[in-house]
């Protein structure tokens, strides 16, 4: 359903005075829009590659696809993090065919070219035929990704050499990442195991869903039924209904600049760092309360309370989700087509928690999150029925108006937890990048 004479700015229709914010459904269903997004969004924004703590020892590597590009993410023999395109500079063959591992060198299976862990060509596997010094300028080394930067261990790539720094790009999103990483004085690490799955829906539908407070009770009714059953007969039994009653007046959604936004809310699941609930059992109470007390010592009551008790759903524009809720998940969305995404999700936790609390963290994770949990699959179903209905009906607009009104900058607006201002922030940024109003480049 591509539009003739399509204009990028025509896909967002915002009238602040009228409280109306609409997104044209071609933004989800058009091949042409998707092609432009690849060029304008995914080639200009910082994209998540992986976490420092996944690279445990020198030589560790992961082969990942990011923004449609195959990249080797590794720790070289000098302990430096690298990101190189996974293609032999000779005749294109993929040089790393494993998902992950440890390697001192990468040998191309086609003609035997060998590259060291820093990406330098060390052998062409040929006695004759090449002039000496053919690689003196390094053009036959593995091609490094244009930009590679990290913030608190989260490594991102950018395919635009002129891009602004990751630090500037993250804007107030840095504070949200700080709130997660400051949970411990030890280290937050990616835990072993990962969830990799697919969804037949546009990538932006999953971003919208990931911090959508409005959908929580309708979509996840069966999860809350389950929680009620679990809490039945305990002092926490009334918590679910009390939470539903207060949900929209407790917490906020906040635009963090550059399209990033966060949902801060209160849902009584308990949090390993650091909110104890009776449903977690008495044995972990002292540990969780000690974690809370230490946060107060380090950051004061207000910040400690924010770090410990708020359920935080963060979306870093355009495709990274970090949910610090009943468990912590880092979830990256890799778009493959307008209506198809590949999702990879990891669990994160601090190195200084007890075995029991670690077990509870992972148990919380699989109870709700992931492709077999009691929550995420119902979200996935919603995204797929949105996608298919958008594709097979002529209705043009989706309504994302809840909480919309006049503001100085719609990328930094605050609203109630079940408002849609975080999505308005996302789409405002999307529109700015797609229209060229924002280049995300250094002047």
């Amino acid at each position: 359903m591509a539009l003739d004479g399509w204009q990028p700015t025509k896909l967002i229709d915002a009238d602040a005075e009228a409280g109306s914010f609409r997104v044209h459904r071609d933004a989800y269903r058009s091949d042409e829009v998707f092609e432009r997004e690849k060029a304008l969004i995914f080639n200009k924004c910082w994209l998540y590659l992986g976490h420092q703590t996944e690279l445990k020892k020198k030589g560790d590597f992961f082969a990942r696809r990011v923004g449609g590009r195959d990249i080797i993410f590794n720790l070289d023999k000098n302990g430096k993090v690298g990101a190189h395109y996974n293609t032999c500079t000779h005749r294109a063959s993929k040089i790393c065919r494993e998902h992950s591992g440890n390697a001192r060198t990468f040998t191309c299976p086609y003609h035997g070219w060998v590259f060291n862990s820093e990406g330098q060509l060390s052998s062409q596997n040929a006695k004759t035929g090449y002039k000496e010094g053919i690689n003196d300028d390094g053009h036959l080394n593995l091609k490094a990704v244009e930009r590679l930067e990290e913030y608190r261990g989260f490594w991102f790539v950018n395919f635009n050499p002129k891009a602004i720094s990751l630090y500037d790009y993250l804007d107030d999103g840095r504070d949200a990442i700080d709130a997660l990483m400051d949970q411990t004085e030890a280290q937050q690490v990616i835990l072993s195991g990962e969830h990799t799955y697919s969804i037949n829906a546009n990538y932006k539908l999953l971003c919208e869903n990931s911090y959508d407070g409005y959908h929580l009770f309708p979509v996840h009714a069966s999860y809350f039924d389950y929680l009620r059953d679990q809490m039945a007969g305990t002092p926490a039994a009334d918590l679910i209904d009390a939470t539903i009653a207060d949900y929209s007046s407790n917490g906020a959604v906040r635009g963090l600049g550059n399209g990033h936004a966060i949902l801060d809310s209160y849902v009584p699941t308990g949090r390993p760092v650091a909110q104890w609930l009776p449903s977690m059992g008495a044995s972990v109470k002292p540990e969780i309360e000690a974690k809370y007390a230490r946060l107060v010592e380090r950051f004061g009551e207000e910040r400690a309370n924010y770090i410990a008790t708020t359920q935080k759903n963060l979306v870093i524009f355009p495709n990274l989700v970090i949910n610090d809720i009943l468990s912590v998940t880092v979830r990256v969305i890799e778009p493959e087509a307008k209506d198809r995404i590949r999702v990879t999700a990891w669990a994160m936790g601090p190195t200084d928690e007890s075995e029991e609390l670690r077990a509870m963290r992972l148990d919380n994770f699989v109870s709700f999150l992931g492709p077999a949990g009691f929550g995420s699959p119902d979200d996935i179903e919603m995204l797929e029925i949105c996608q298919t209905a958008a594709a097979h009906t002529p209705v043009e607009w989706s309504e994302i108006s809840k909480g919309f009104g006049p503001a100085e900058d719609h990328c930094k607006v605050t609203g109630a937890p079940d408002d849609e201002v975080q999505m308005q922030a996302y789409w405002t940024m999307w529109d700015r990048v797609m229209s060229g109003e924002v280049t995300l480049e250094v002047e």
Partner: protein, 162 residues
């Protein structure tokens, strides 16, 4: 007393039948009070010995969540399985590997076909099962499914019970 392969197959085939006919509460009844139902994640480096207490699994249910899973899936609000998908559980290559008193350890290959709307996918792998002989008949004490896949890229999600 050691169960014979044929007796083990009766239990596994009964489980398959309950699942394929969406008699999920009856399925949950087959599990003991101290049971586990687990599916490791495809990224798990050693899925046979991995421990859900320190490694992210796809599914790690004790009896309360086994029952909760069955109960939830029967609701219309379990959107991911509404309308219910059609499934067919194939259980084969059943081997009794160890027996000790009332406990029998079993390995079996499985292929589960799922059709949701017009899409059919397969979940294939090996199940490691511990059966317990009780006064109420043979029950499942532990079932760990290890999938022969590298991701759920083709299947999308895992909302049925394997």
């Amino acid at each position: 007393m050691t169960l014979t392969r044929s007796e083990v197959e009766d239990v596994l085939f009964q489980e398959a039948e309950f699942l394929d006919s969406w008699q999920l509460m009856e399925w949950a009844e087959m599990y003991t009070e101290d049971s586990f139902y687990e599916v490791t994640s495809p990224a798990c480096s050693d899925p046979y010995t991995a421990d859900a207490r320190n490694t992210l699994f796809l599914i790690s249910d004790r009896i309360d969540r086994i029952r909760g899973r069955a109960k939830r899936l029967l609701k219309k609000t379990a959107h991911a399985e509404y309308p219910h998908s059609k499934t067919r559980h194939m259980v084969s290559n059943v081997r009794v590997v160890e027996a000790d008193g009332d406990t029998t350890k079993v390995r079996a290959n499985f292929a589960v076909f799922r059709t949701k709307e017009d899409n059919s996918t397969i979940y294939m792998g090996e199940a490691f099962i511990t059966l317990l002989e009780t006064p109420d008949g043979v029950k499942i004490q532990h079932k760990r499914c290890v999938l022969d896949i590298n991701s759920l890229y083709n299947q999308g999600r895992l909302t049925i019970i394997l």
